[in-house]
């Protein structure tokens, strides 16, 4: 199952149907890796959008946001097949449903970007093109023998091309047998609120979501630590 999860292509149509049923708009993009072989051997290609995808996002942004800055995206969700399309097809839509339930009402979610042959950093470019304040990449994690369907979440504040892993916060093992959807969504939104306050994500942003409200913590004590 783990080996198959790596090579099975993501069923994009079925995923978009689910997301549309949840009242969401979707945009389909593709990385510069043309197939699985080049995806596996050339991570640099998986981190960048291909030309068609870049112009699609540019046009979308121009059309929707240029004259309506008040509609700017607070939290962009990008779904990437990553190393397990199984994880994406089983967990992504259900996790997003929980995010929809828990997200503060005044936050703009924007369209859901579905990216094929994608690595984590691809979300940076999508976020920059759509001018989003934060981006969360929901991506199929490397499949393990007994956990071939685990989804990972990578949150980046003010993401741009060239961001590194030190700029991201990670929530891993999202699956019913691991971190359940509601808990994952709660953790993500806590991190989002904290990232907005501190205007950063990554190693300077510590997850203290279980120790009470973030407001009680002076940001300086975290960034200096």
């Amino acid at each position: 199952m783990a080996r198959d999860a790596v090579h099975l292509a993501l069923d994009v149509n079925s995923l978009t149907d689910q997301l549309h049923a949840q009242g969401l708009t979707t945009l389909q993009v593709h990385s510069r890796a043309t197939d699985r072989h080049s995806y596996l051997l050339r991570p640099d290609l998986g981190r960048r959008l291909d030309e068609t995808s870049v112009s699609l996002l540019q046009q979308y942004s121009q059309h929707h946001y240029f004259h309506h800055p008040e509609k700017n995206i607070d939290l962009l969700l990008v779904i990437g097949d990553g190393l397990s399309s199984t994880a994406v097809s089983q967990q992504a839509a259900k996790l997003i449903a929980e995010i929809q339930l828990q997200i503060p009402p005044h936050w703009n979610l924007g369209p859901i970007v579905i990216a094929q042959q994608a690595r984590v950093a691809l979300a940076d470019e999508a976020s920059e093109l759509l001018n989003a304040r934060m981006v969360a990449m929901l991506i199929g994690e490397r499949p393990g023998l007994s956990s071939p369907d685990s989804l990972g979440i990578y949150l980046t504040y003010n993401a741009k091309l060239g961001c590194t892993d030190a700029d991201r916060n990670c929530i891993s093992n999202v699956r019913p047998e691991g971190l359940v959807y509601a808990a994952a969504a709660k953790k993500l939104l806590w991190l989002c609120a904290a990232a907005l306050r501190m205007q950063c994500s990554g190693i300077a942003l510590k997850d203290e979501s279980d120790t009470g409200s973030f407001i009680a913590v002076a940001p300086a004590s975290l960034t200096e630590g």
């Binding site: 051997l41 050339r42 490397r142 393990g144 023998l145 007994s146 971190l179 510590k206």
Partner: protein
Amino acid sequence: MCGDTMSYKHTLGVQTYEFRDLKDVMAKASPARSGDYLAGVAAATYVERMAARMCLADVPLAQFLQELLIPYESDEVTRLIIDTHDKQAFAEISHLTVADFRNWLLSDIATTETLARVARGITPEMAAAVSKLMRNQDLILVAKKCSVITRFRNTIGLAGHISARLQPNHPTDDPRGIAASLIDGLLYGSGDAVIGINPATDNLSALMELYYLVDGVIQQFEIPTQSCILTHVTNQIQLIEKGAPVDLVFQSIAGTELANKSFGIDIALLAEARDAALSLKRGTIGDNVMYFETGQGSALSANANHGVDQQTCEARAYAIARHLSPLLTNTVVGFIGPEYLYDGKQIIRAGLEDHFCGKLLGVPLGCDVCYTNHAEADQDDMDTLMTLLANAGLTFLMGIPGADDIMLNYQTTSFHDTLYLRKILGLKAAPEFEQWLKKMNIMDSAGQVRPISQQHPLLQQFPNRLAP
């Protein structure tokens, strides 16, 4: 001519191969691996690779102190390597070329004592260079002669011993799940290197609970071992400040300043963390308080390899480790994926290279013998690599239920694998830990693991602590 004229070329048959600089020779002399192709630094053909090796063979070791692969001005790892280079230790080998160095290492002149004496005179680049001229058996033979012994609550790295990191990871850090794997591992004689958890969360209060969980077990059963929670070093410093019982401080490290920056660290931060851990004075028989993890490909993965091949970048990480006197350093060899090490053959070679380079430099190297399911490798390849490494004197390997890490989603080695190696090669656990295993009736006087009854104290007393 090679080396002293600063011109690198070699003629094979009718064709002369020229190389841009020492960095280029090193990269093209490396055994083939996907990460060097990805970086665009690998030899284009087998003949070019051999030409580069012939060229590298003639380079004097002293050239590596003159021609720095990554500039001194722009990289703190280079500065560390040069500034801490022991010229007196180097004197014994300073007249050798890379080829001479290989022959010297393989000869009976290079005894365990000799190798320990010259270790601080060897730079990572010299170690990497000579490894490129060595076959797998050479890497095994020389590593076996190197002795690196470290201590915290037990003695790691003695000849005839192999230790195991007990890695009781859980996808949601559930204490009961972690405890189940922990008991399982202890009952199989695993955990003398460290009980080290990769937490799923970065949440500080959850991390604090994990520290107390593992420390509580170590205290309650008086286990001569140490714990470690593998979270970012800045989290560990904060937790030490909040009073957490931190034995070993963990951090992933890489061989260039830029790569370490992408991890959110530098050498000064690591030194600060080490000082914090030392201040707790928790080691009973030694003060090796650091646990590092490394792996070929991490520098390129951060776009921070400076055109240097991935094996040389990896060896440079050991300079940082050596500087901070760790208890353990672990090359997580197949974890990074097929874009850096494509298949079983490349993973096996890299594991042997890393272990050799680490030991030659004086670093207590263990290996997470592992692969991911998107690489062309399987558990048979892991059997091969662990058997080779154990013959080479590997310091420690991982112990995980079923060799399947359900948190990090990769395939590694099981508790049984350590027992297999101890049995076929007559290797022992760390002596203090072995005494404890015997005291606890987990191991018999002949060193065999015993069947465990329901009445065993680890099963009887343990779960009470974790009742919901």
